[in-house]
Point group: C2
Chain length 425, copies 2
């Protein structure tokens, strides 16, 4: 059997004509080599002026979905529910689909995989994770075996922009958030970014392609940068750290995968240290390739369009995600038995439930805040939510996943000196 040379001509139905959609349209116009053409664009508001011929547009989704000639649907709209309906309908009609909607994909990935299998239509979404960074394709193509040790990434540009302002410009978190909003790097309701929801959606997608694990984003431990304080930034600087919001997963010695999104102290030796502003960066550690680092713009019209283009290019030679780790192997379990080395700070030491920690390594207190560095079992975070409360911040230390920690119960009594027994979590 010989290797064939075969290409598919792409006739595209596009949903959405915002920055990404229009960028894609223009680029395809200028790139005849790709053999991909947009036949019709479905938009929400038919009366807006557009930089494209009038008869390219429709407000009727069926015009695209029913068109036999259209063999690719590109979905670039904001509304996750509408995106879900468009994508599932298109797959059922055996059209290839490209989407950038991470929320929709993370929440429905099991069904979307099943639809691809049932109807034989490919579904690509490189743009949903870190936009211009080809991380999904990389995870999908490599690390079939037990080769992948860990992924740790800065996957949300808004929070990274805010953290960069705080560390490089030495301004407060509130001022930095305002600046991010003014520059267009954060939504007017920034909760999705700031509280880690966007990052956990992306981690959920990465887990599927990295390890074959399907887990709804709501079930992954996560918080954002909403509770970080000026005192945290000062502490980090004293120690030579920066703070980053890191989505990560790591294979433990028992084969299970620890995964979560938490703020983390990052040392200068870590590639993530220099990921600044709205950029994203992902470090992948594996047996064969050792350490790889991918860096690029993680959001914005053009970086997203570039990822969509690469998916279209891949469709031309009939590329599809194979979900090999899910289908051909028994995926590893999500880990629930490991320890984290965590910093906790609060205005009052009494609000830190030190009795939940198996070991306290450092503690300090001044007129503004109290702070501990301790070792805590993962379950103490999943079973309680004290650490998400306003006024308390938690930050993971470098190499903060402890796989071999043996708790010393003897230390519990000593901890009483901090008055923790009076605190109910």
């Amino acid at each position: 059997m010989s290797i064939q040379n075969q290409h598919t001509q792409l006739t595209i139905g596009l949903f959405g004509f915002g920055v990404v959609g229009e960028g894609l349209y223009k680029t395809l116009e200028q790139t005849p080599g790709l053999q991909a053409q947009i036949k019709k664009v479905c938009i929400k508001h038919g009366d807006k002026p557009r930089n494209a011929p009038y008869d390219l547009f429709t407000t009727n989704a069926s015009e695209l979905l029913n068109d036999q000639e259209i063999n690719v649907i590109v979905e670039l709209i904001d509304d996750a529910d509408a995106a879900y309906r468009i994508v599932t309908t298109a797959l059922k009609r055996k059209k290839a689909v490209v989407s950038a909607n991470k929320k929709m994909i993370a929440e429905h990935i099991a069904e979307l995989i099943l639809l691809q299998e049932t109807y034989g239509a490919p579904f690509l979404y490189e743009a949903a994770c870190c936009a211009s960074i080809p991380v999904i394709r990389n995870l999908e193509e490599y690390y079939d075996n037990d080769l992948l040790h860990s992924i740790s990434g800065i996957v949300n540009g808004s929070t990274n922009y805010i953290l960069t302002r705080v560390f490089d410009d030495k301004i407060g978190f509130d001022a930095a958030l305002q600046q991010a909003q003014a520059e267009g790097f954060a939504e007017s309701n920034p909760a999705l970014d700031v509280e880690g929801t966007d990052a956990v959606n992306k981690l959920s997608i990465l887990l599927t392609h990295a390890y074959g694990i399907i887990v709804p984003p709501g079930e992954i431990l996560h918080t954002g940068i909403q509770n970080l304080s000026a005192s945290d930034a000062i502490y980090a600087k004293e120690k030579g750290y920066v703070i980053k919001l890191v989505a990560q997963c790591r294979k433990l010695n028992n084969g299970a995968i620890a995964s979560f999104v938490l703020p983390q102290y990052i040392t200068n030796g870590n590639q993530l240290y220099n990921v600044k502003n709205e950029y994203n960066g992902v470090v992948i550690e594996s047996n064969l390739a050792d350490k790889q680092f991918f860096y690029g713009k993680g959001a914005g019209g053009f970086p997203t369009a570039s990822a969509v283009l690469s998916d279209l290019s891949a469709l031309r030679y009939n590329y599809r995600y194979e979900y090999k780790k899910l289908k051909f192997q028994t995926p590893p379990k999500q880990a629930d038995d490991f320890y984290l080395q965590l910093g906790v700070s609060a205005a009052e030491i009494a609000t830190i439930p030190v009795h939940l920690f198996d070991q306290i390594l450092e503690w300090s207190s001044d007129e503004h805040s109290s702070r501990i560095k301790g070792i805590i079992h993962y379950s103490k975070l999943t079973e309680t939510n004290w650490w998400k409360q306003a006024g308390i911040s938690v930050i993971l230390y470098p190499d903060g996943i402890l796989d071999n920690f043996e708790p010393k119960y003897a230390s519990i009594k000593e901890r009483k000196i901090y008055g923790s027994e009076t605190f109910v979590s």
Copy 2:
């Protein structure tokens, strides 16, 4: 026309069973999901003990090349001439080929592209550039249009290891080279790495995939780190720079592509600043994706095997390089009319041909060395070779490609104070 789901079963004939070859064999054994199997391995020395069944091996190349069932040849031998014979023969027999031999590929790329076209067989070589970093695939799939501004990369691990030792451990160049050899990061004859030959081979391959330019590596301006001195390192540290050997190409305002391999001063803000030891890193700047950075191990058995694996995975869905920028567009010209901002140092100021420079920005001299920072036309380097002589080092400054420089002829006279008129280049 619908998007098809079609895979090719790979039956592999492997040339070479060194670190990469054996690593590949083991990984494929453990990865049934890839549907790729090594049928036969051709080795040079049949009597060495091998960690694989005896009847897998042969010393007769024809056994692999004549086998109708073998549809993929993976070539992982050192000898560039033998590799050329194997690869061309295999392509003529319509077998897909995967190779990691950058020297052979750079020197024969025009013929190898023609063979792929004539016989319809794909030829993939991701491992030939930066091993584990998927840079060729990325360039091939993106930037079809006039979207690609520049590529700058640390593409040779040995020289980067030496430079890291000099800057981080504060040892001399000679000691660093010895250490690199002791650690296995430099050949016993290190000229290929140290003088920039290996880097220029890789740049030649990158130029083809980035811009459709085919140029023999010998015709690309290059030097290595062989003439760098302790005084250069001291100067760099004073200015907050590190020195890296950078392979780069950049689209100028007139559309032509400037390309060369030179040592360069790198600032802390550049992603290449933190590429240390045997790692490689490539910064790609483009319109759509803006700035992307890829980082990983650029050499070694396992990182190379990981790139070969990704090529095999790509062959399964009939992926091939399309050389779109070469075939569907008129490739840009190599630029020959631009200026460089260059530092030159030498033991004697008289050996620096300052009259060739259009502007001298700085000069200094002490008992050990003299040093200038100046602006010189590119042609002054291609037409002469004073700058490659022992005792003279040249180092490009950050942002050292000057596209809009207007020479000030008035300054020529002033330069006579340095005695340059007595020097014949």
